[in-house]
């Protein structure tokens, strides 16, 4: 491997897991018990989950730790879609689906979770931050006073998931008309295009004619 040449600043080492461990410790010293859970996938990435009430405090802490680059902010709706992939036969009786809400990495207890990512610009290491959003009162403190770029991301999240942001200057809709009802990225919002016309692409994953044990078949 040839050395990457001619840039003025020395290239930071590929971030090690020790660095990520140090970040967790550092964050814990800032926000204490509000750091509910963390997950470090060796050689991959870092996830932390914080208390909802400490959402803004976490942003402030991360910024002071040097995580100045704001990457994105969004949400995840962990409820399995009641419509599946929209490929059911409308004439057949309704299909039984597993509707238990299972959260992903670092757990959680609510259906909706906020997800954000900030990056340290010189160490080139990022943190994925999650926090639970209450079902009855989905309002979280805004990050836009800390990271100005969060402004638009929060507008988008508000529009798509119906999560409110306390302290946000202007939560207008970004994409949809202001009179639009519902929050499209919530799982219980139906994808109408799929409801009115069956999706032809399903053929893609059907077994090939004449093929045997396709499930285990290898690529040619």
């Amino acid at each position: 491997m040839s050395p990457l040449s001619s840039t003025e600043t020395p290239i930071a080492e590929i971030p090690g897991d020790t660095l990520r461990e140090r970040i967790i410790d550092d964050l814990r010293s800032h926000i204490g018990a509000d750091l509910l859970d963390s997950l470090l996938k060796p050689g991959d990435d870092l996830w932390v989950r914080v208390n909802t009430s400490a959402w803004r405090q976490t942003g402030v802490a991360l910024r002071s730790m040097g995580f100045e680059y704001f990457c994105f902010l969004s949400a995840i709706d962990w409820m399995p879609s009641p419509f599946g992939k929209g490929e059911d036969d409308p004439t057949a009786p309704p299909v039984e689906r597993d509707d238990t809400v299972r959260q992903g990495y670092t757990g959680g207890s609510t259906r909706m979770q906020l997800l954000a990512r900030v990056v340290h610009p010189s160490l080139h290491v990022g943190v994925n931050i999650k926090c639970d959003v209450s079902d009855s009162e989905p309002v979280v403190e805004s990050w836009s006073p800390i990271f100005a770029g969060a402004n638009w991301h929060e507008r988008e999240t508000h529009e798509m998931f119906g999560i409110g942001f306390d302290g946000h200057p202007d939560l207008r809709n970004m994409y949809l008309p202001s009179e639009f009802e519902g929050h499209p990225l919530r799982k219980d919002f139906p994808l109408l295009a799929r409801m009115v016309k069956p999706w032809p692409g399903i053929i893609d994953v059907e077994p090939m004619p004449g093929g045997s044990d396709d499930e285990e078949g290898e690529a040619e």
């Binding site: 770029g149 994808l191 799929r194 692409g201």
Partner: protein, 393 residues
């Protein structure tokens, strides 16, 4: 370090002072505000973006982009597709560099599956990635001229971009939407004669860069309309999540091709990350020009060292991705493009967050347009370089 910073400060202070002086004059004359609507259809907007600018005389008091004219709901659509089907969707996010959009998504799925593409596939991916960067950014360079009133550069850009698009078409079958990347490798190997042809085209593109440098960047009108205009300081750029050439033009040494380890071939060749201390419109355009040239050099080196072997790893024909979450981002032509993929062990993703570069790059527009003159709106927007599909997704 400090000298470059103070240089930015000085320029900025001079700029702010001149604006303040003009503002005082306006107060004395008691000019009345007016609202100027730019777009949705305007040649400067690369699609349909509307900018609402509130003016005081010739100056912008506040400006705000209004998005949504191109919103196609890709994040929702990925939830009802299978993994191999998603690439045909994400192709259309940044339509000028579409192959580059497929790569991070495929890498995220491969990361969850624990699959790695064979070396030859990694090399070809990187070559096609750089080719789409060249096609994308060379069009930007031509378009830049048009937005400043020069017509010649755009013809040259379209002429030379065509060579690159022909190469992409020869390899993938599609000029704009290749849909060529697969989980575990690529659809096909390179066609015969591709390597020689690519070498010749890269030479042409380097000539194109030199021509552009003489014709456009050396032009006095171009310089006076871009230098010191739309200055974005480093910390503001970081806060807004600006990426790609826009961030490097603020003096931040940041390139995801170099700064992270991905199963791609960038770390196997010798190349340079260009930065510029000024942070103005000129710096952003200049960085892009250098990057096109650098990309041609990357491609040349990769063509020399391309390994033999298969282009597809062993993957099941029906792809099920194990449960988990993965984030992969790459340095796309427009900036950082990333996918946060959540899998529940199904045929398709449970949720995909698409972090596109232009969304963040354009969110700074209200900040950067504050106080500029009306003609500068167009040059600043042009230099920030966005593609509407990449904002709205």
């Amino acid at each position: 370090m400090t000298s470059t910073e103070s240089l930015i400060d000085r320029k900025q202070l001079a700029y702010i002072a001149s604006q303040a002086a003009d503002a005082r004059l306006n107060v004395e004359l008691e000019t009345e505000g007016m609202t100027l609507n730019i777009g949705p259809q305007h040649p400067a907007t690369h699609g349909t973006l509307r900018i609402i600018a509130h003016l005081d005389g010739e100056q912008v008091v506040w400006a705000e982009p209004s998005c949504g004219y191109m919103h196609r709901g890709y994040e929702k659509l990925t939830e009802v597709r299978t993994y191999p089907q998603v690439t045909s969707l994400v192709n259309r996010i940044d339509w000028l560099g579409s192959f580059a959009n497929e790569v991070p998504f495929i890498l995220a799925a491969e990361k969850l599956m624990g699959v790695e593409a064979p070396p030859r596939a990694q090399w070809i991916r990187t070559i096609l990635f750089e080719l789409s960067r060249i096609a994308n950014v060379s069009l930007f360079l031509g378009d830049l001229g048009v937005q400043l009133g020069a017509v010649t550069p755009v013809f040259m850009a379209f002429r030379d971009r065509e060579h690159v698009l022909n190469l992409i078409e020869a390899a993938t079958g599609g000029r704009f939407h290749p849909n060529f990347d697969r989980i575990g490798g690529l659809k096909d190997d390179l066609p015969e004669g591709f390597i020689d042809e690519t070498r010749a085209v890269m030479k042409k593109l380097r000539n194109f860069c030199t021509e552009m440098e003489d014709l456009l960047f050396g032009n006095e009108i171009f310089q006076s309309r871009t230098r010191g205009i739309g200055v974005i300081p480093k910390d503001i750029a970081m806060q807004y999540g600006l990426s790609g050439a826009n961030l490097r033009a603020c003096g931040v040494d940041w390139d995801l091709r170099r700064d992270q380890s991905l199963p791609m071939a960038w770390d196997k060749v010798d190349w340079k990350v260009w930065t510029h201390p000024d942070g103005d419109s000129f710096a952003r355009c200049w960085i892009r020009l250098q990057e096109v040239r650098e990309s041609t050099l990357i491609v040349d080196q990769l063509l020399k060292s391309i390994p033999s072997g298969p282009v597809m790893a062993k993957v099941p024909r029906i792809i099920k991705v194990p449960e988990g979450e993965a984030w992969v981002s790459t340095e796309n032509p427009l900036g950082e493009m990333g996918y946060y993929v959540v899998s529940k062990g199904d045929l398709g993703p449970f949720r995909t967050k698409i972090r596109s570069a232009s969304f963040n790059n354009i969110s700074i527009v209200p900040w950067v347009l504050k106080g500029v003159y009306v003609p500068d709106i167009i040059t600043i927007l042009a230099s920030l370089y966005f593609i509407l599909g990449d904002i709205d997704r």
